[in-house]
């Protein structure tokens, strides 16, 4: 259920980014949601990565913006989880890494910061159903 919902929201986010750019400062909705779903559950990369590819193509006309970096995140996340145990620090670090190309491609710093915030919120909400009570 999460996958179609997040993918639909992500498409809406792409439309918001294209349709309202220049009018209001807005985060990269799509990147925030897709990255949050990978951070919330590693196995979500199966549908989130194609979403990232579409995101890169629609907003930047290139496959080489966020996609190559985000494609490495599930791999590094698995390695880090195996070594350090599942936890937040490595995920926060990888969130920075995954969204860093936005600054490089010309997004403003406030937009990037907003994207980080949306990603953190989305990560919390997507991960919530998986959290088992202690």
């Amino acid at each position: 259920m999460t996958a179609p919902f997040v993918l639909l929201l992500s498409l809406l986010g792409i439309m918001l980014n294209l349709g309202l750019a220049g009018l209001v400062i807005q985060p990269d909705w799509s990147a925030a949601l897709l990255l949050a779903s990978i951070l919330a559950q590693r196995s979500n990369w199966v549908w989130a990565l194609p979403g990232f590819w579409v995101h890169d193509l629609a907003l930047h006309w290139s496959s080489l913006v966020c996609f190559p970096v985000v494609a490495l995140i599930p791999f590094f996340l698995a390695k880090a989880d195996a070594r350090l145990g599942p936890g937040r620090p490595q995920r926060v670090l990888l969130m920075f890494a995954g969204l860093f190309p936005l600054l490089w491609i010309g997004w403003s710093f406030p937009q990037w910061l907003l994207t980080m915030m949306v990603c953190t919120f989305a990560w919390y909400f997507i991960a919530r159903p998986n959290v088992k009570p202690a």
Binding site: N17, L18, A21, H60, S62, L64, G106, W107, S108
Partner: protein, 263 residues
């Protein structure tokens, strides 16, 4: 079955994926995707349009009367200006003929509504709502050159602005013997082939030279922001910024070359 995959295999798959991505980089997938999304953008922007239309109904009649009077006065002023422009145009053509400056004529001008923009700081790409547009049509704002139509289909067109590295614009300065090339660098412009002794001052405006026939001559393109001579080199390092501000413009003009001009 082993759960751990060999790092070599992962590396091979990653390399293959990267090669695939690089090889499809030149295909216009993004442009086609933008053209596909364009009708959805129209739906998304519908509430804004409805609000604008509804707000007209809420205007008081006295306000409308005053608006009408202002519009009538402006129309009269514009009529006089149009006359002046016509006589200036004729004079300009005669002067150009006398000076032997090549005039590129044969462009059809029409308006296009901006439907979407790429969300980066400088909006390097635009989506326009336009009926008649073809690839390589020139897009212009009231201030100067914006870019070129990259792909057009069923009432929409996607535009690469001059900030895109794929576009190079031949430029000159009206009062100088300068033949340079403006290239996009993402957030700024770079002016190539500017000889140090002929370098324009900071703040000067570069115009299209018309060389190559792609862009009509005389359109403002870039304002020089920095000129830096490089020791031992013939050409200076010149940075510039676009004259046109398309980040907030709702309407732009498209110049389509007629067949005669293309030939």
């Amino acid at each position: 079955m082993s759960k751990h995959r060999s790092p070599l295999r992962i590396l091979a798959w990653s390399g293959l994926l990267l090669i695939l991505l690089i090889s499809i980089q030149q295909l216009p997938f993004g442009q086609r995707l933008n053209l596909g999304i364009a009708p959805l953008l129209s739906v998304l922007q519908a509430p804004g349009r409805w609000w604008q239309e509804a707000s007209l109904w809420l205007h008081e009649s006295s306000q409308l009367q005053s608006d009408y009077q202002h519009a009538t006065i402006r129309l009269e002023q514009q009529g006089a200006l149009i006359q002046e422009v016509k006589s200036l145009r004729e004079e300009n053509q005669k002067l150009r003929a006398l000076l032997g400056i090549q005039q590129i004529s044969g462009y059809n001008w029409h308006a296009a509504k901006v439907q979407g923009r790429s969300p980066d700081k400088m909006s390097q790409r635009l989506i326009l709502l336009v009926d008649r547009a073809a690839p390589d049509d020139v897009v212009v704002s009231s201030d100067g050159l914006v870019g070129l139509v990259d792909l057009a289909k069923s009432g929409s067109a996607v535009v690469r602005t001059i900030l895109d590295a794929a576009i190079a614009v031949p430029v000159t300065m009206p009062d100088k013997k300068l033949a340079a090339l403006v290239r996009g660098q993402g957030n700024r412009l770079m002016v190539d082939f500017v000889p140090i002794e002929n370098a324009p001052e900071v703040g000067s405006i570069l115009q299209t030279s018309g060389a190559g026939g792609m862009f009509p001559a005389g359109l403002s393109v870039a304002r020089i922001t920095n000129v830096e001579p490089i020791p031992g080199q013939v050409f200076a390092k010149v940075d510039a910024e676009p004259v046109a501000h398309w980040q907030r413009e709702s309407w732009l003009a498209i110049a389509s070359a007629t067949r005669k001009a293309v030939q």
